[in-house]
């Protein structure tokens, strides 16, 4: 009976409070501020992600983490202000005493008011989901890390609202309640920021109290039950304190109240500690996806004989090594991976001469290579060496103003720093060749690479290239828009004709980028024939292909998708007639492997895929990389995201205006 009465009274307070808040312009102003800030942060964070080419780190780390760290600012600012009016407003209007004379307990009053706040805050937060939903139409969005981050934001909001409620129960002015709540919350936020100022013991305590530290894991797509418990306990504690704050004025035995508050705090500490001791973690994001670069996966996928990898792992790094082993094993069914505990199997380690944790032994066909450290490039080179002892030599033509293949950047960068570096990581050797002086393509070259010539080839060089192709050689031509009549004549014999420059127009051009920047899609090399964004070219030209009867196989594999023109061909691949057949690939751009564009993972993957197709004599396509390259935003897409960010706060303001107008009329 008592419980039913409690619920009925709480419900009545809740309804009354929702009605009051819904009629108040404050809700609409705060809602518009919240959604406006959230939309602004979302839009700018997306642009930041887009412009910095953060393919590698992915959306969770590159976008969601940043966005939710910004969103928590909106929550920290808006939630306490929204809550501050609950009791302070009643006091300001002089209705507090009247409310307290109602046949209601303080618990029913606080419970009803707090629930009304929660009900109004959660839809506000939910409205921000609209932006990720629209983004999901542009880029693939994994909903799991987003769900974790939204759970964190909702719990943070709950804690902020309860803190605001408590401050409101103490204060007589709404502004002072809001300021006090903001002060408390910012204190809790920055508690553990100066790590140098506290010893390890104190720092541990501060970190457990810090809102920032507790919220951080949610933004990374990780849910820890201890953090959920912490936020719920904090919210409950502030609500209970609010209750005691209302009772305080007419309490006779205030010592008992102080004791009660201390006991409540102690209980909260106990529950929080229980949460820490019985913690469960849910990793909702697969950040380890970034462990193996697509180039490495392709290098491993190219093996044609059984390969055995022995990974001698360090005891404390089992998980990482196991993941590396799994990825290596998945790259090709011919790769067999075994994890070896170096300390537990010393005889095996000694037999292979392994003396360091993290060493990898690569074996195939009686050949063996010991790789240390287990860097991806060294691993792929070792696999290439043991599976095929012949040098995989790429000959780069010189003497026509071709692009440089090396840079002076650090060689120990995580990513390849130049075309030469990338070739080495893919297991190739390379050498520069002056075709005119050498009298043709050297016989040990597997592949001729013509990398953006600015001047035309001499007739003898064209003949040398043609002979090389006729003898079963492969060639890759990356052509910038320079007039190259003799080279184009050679391509004409394979029914390939380079054309003029492509200039994206209207909503299809890229946002905040040069008009010459062209996103291209892979239409021929992907395994399931699925068209997907591949790379970004600069100043690309059309490359047409007219199939003929003599050609065994050929077609457009790379193109720019434009709504008025359809697919504009940019890359053509053909198998030349002859026994053995040669392979030729032509792309209407060479700049995509230069400077900033080379840092795009998709661009490097495109080169790797082309090299593999040219080198392999198999009628199968290579598997696609595990990760997705994020296409740069077009003007149309960025407009759509902008209006998605702007519409909710405007709608809220319009709602507020309507309420104000109705109140004036009514």
């Amino acid at each position: 009976m008592a419980a039913r009465s409690f619920l009925a009274n709480t419900w009545a307070v809740f309804l009354k409070e929702v009605r009051t808040l819904a009629r108040s312009p404050l809700l609409y102003i705060l809602g518009a501020v919240f959604l406006g800030l959230a939309g602004y942060f979302f839009y700018t964070d997306v642009l930041y992600f887009d412009l910095l080419n953060q393919d590698k780190i992915g959306l969770t780390q590159g976008l969601w983490q940043r966005f939710f760290e910004d969103l928590r600012l909106c929550v920290l600012l808006v939630a306490p202000v929204l809550a501050a009016r609950l009791f302070a407003e009643e006091r300001r209007l002089g209705t507090m005493e009247m409310v307290l004379t109602y046949p209601l307990t303080e618990a029913e009053l606080v419970g009803g008011k707090f629930l009304s706040l929660v009900l109004l805050f959660l839809p506000l937060l939910a409205a921000t989901v609209l932006s990720p939903l629209v983004l999901a139409q542009v880029w693939p969005v994994d909903p799991r890390p987003l769900a974790a981050a939204y759970l964190g934001a909702a719990l943070l909001g709950l804690a902020c609202l309860s803190c605001g409620t408590f401050c409101s129960a103490l204060a007589t002015q709404q502004s002072s309640a809001a300021l006090a709540a903001l002060g408390v919350l910012f204190f809790f936020w920055f508690l553990a920021w100066n790590e140098a100022a506290a010893g390890p013991g104190l720092l541990g305590v501060l970190r457990r109290l810090s809102l920032f530290d507790r919220f951080y894991d949610f933004t990374r797509g990780t849910v820890q039950s201890r953090d959920v418990v912490y936020f719920l306990v904090l919210a409950a504690l502030f609500v209970l304190f609010s209750l005691e704050a209302l009772r305080w004025r007419w309490r006779q035995h205030r010592g008992a109240v102080v004791l009660r508050l201390l006991l409540l705090a102690a209980i909260s500490v106990g529950i929080e500690d229980w949460g820490v001791r019985h913690n469960h973690t849910w990793e909702l994001v697969r950040e380890q996806e970034a462990l193996l670069a697509p180039e490495t996966l392709r290098g491993l996928a190219a093996v044609q004989v059984p390969v055995r990898l022995l990974l001698f792992y360090e005891p404390g790094r089992y998980r990482e090594t196991a993941y590396l082993a799994e990825k290596c094993g998945r790259a090709s069914s011919l790769i067999q991976v075994r994890l070896v505990d170096l300390d537990r199997e010393p005889a095996l380690a000694r037999a292979y001469g392994v003396r360091a944790y993290g060493t990898v032994v690569v074996e195939a066909g009686g050949r063996r290579q010991v790789v240390y450290p287990a860097e991806e490039r060294l691993l792929v080179q070792a696999v290439a060496t043991v599976t095929d002892p012949r040098p995989r030599l790429v000959c780069l033509s010189t003497g026509h103003g071709e692009h440089e293949v090396t840079t002076e950047r650090r060689a120990d960068d995580e990513d390849p720093t130049s075309v030469a570096d990338l070739l080495e990581r893919l297991g190739y050797q390379w050498q520069e060749v002056a075709l005119q002086h050498e009298g043709g393509v050297p016989h040990d070259c597997r592949l001729l690479f013509v990398y953006g010539p600015a001047h035309d080839f001499a007739t003898a060089e064209v003949t040398a290239a043609e002979q090389f192709l006729a003898a079963g050689g492969s060639a890759l031509l990356l052509l910038d828009p320079f007039p190259l009549p003799r080279l184009e004549e050679l391509l004409g014999r394979y029914r390939i004709s380079p054309g003029g420059e492509i200039a994206p127009r209207g909503a299809a051009r890229l946002y905040l980028r040069d008009r010459q920047t062209v996103p291209v899609v892979d239409v021929g090399l992907s395994p399931r024939g699925a068209e997907r964004f591949t790379a970004v070219l600069y100043g690309a030209r059309r490359v047409e292909y007219a199939p003929g009867e003599k050609d065994r196989r050929g077609g457009v594999f790379l193109g720019y998708r434009s709504s008025p023109q359809g697919l504009v061909p940019v890359g053509v691949a053909v198998e030349t007639a002859g026994e053995p057949e040669g392979r030729l690939m032509v792309v209407g751009d060479a700049d995509f492997l230069q400077g900033v564009l080379f840092r795009r993972e998709g661009n490097r993957v495109l080169l790797a895929r082309m090299l593999h197709w040219l080198e392999e004599r198999r009628d199968r396509d290579l598997p696609a990389g595990a990760r997705y390259a994020y296409a740069p935003l077009t003007v149309g897409q960025s407009r759509r995201l902008f209006w998605t960010a702007v519409t909710p706060p405007l709608a809220f303001l319009a709602g507020g205006g309507l309420v104000w107008w109705r109140r004036r009329r009514g």
Binding site: V257, L259, R260, A266, I267, R277, G316, L342, R344, P346
Partner: protein, 181 residues
Amino acid sequence: LRDLKGNILLSLVAAGLLLPAYTERQAVSLTPVAAPPAVSEPLFPVPLAEIDTITVLDARGCVSVRREVISQNVEKLGQSVAQARVVRRFSPPSADLSAYGLAHPARQVEVKWAHGAQSRSAAVGDLNPVGNAVYARIEGESGVLLVGSYFLTSLDLALQGLRAEGGKFVDPTCAEGSENR
């Protein structure tokens, strides 16, 4: 009275929550097994001051020292034994321990304490392939231990010193006893 009752109830709840937290925390800090792997455990769980006898058998014979004997090298041997830390413990993939040098261990160390009532004997085998730890096995236990390699260095240095001091620490009978065991 209502406040009092409420506060008593809250006190009980608080005590019920905080006491297990406290006892669990104490238990964690006292039990070395529950400690994270980074925190190593001693090879011989006895403080230096409580050691009565240390006996070491290696290829050059047997050395036995008692705590009462005042000698710098005895002190060194004691410190070497007391400071030896187990960095890892694992079960071997087979019963054959020759890969660890424990089938015929190069060194056997026995420590006695509590007036000879308690003792622990450890066989010390080869260095691991990396060379940062040495394999060991406690008599009566099935697992293989990895002890920081400085143990081997400090042990050999102390033994060298003790042997240089003359024959007073060399005990030919313990060699027979150890071999029989």
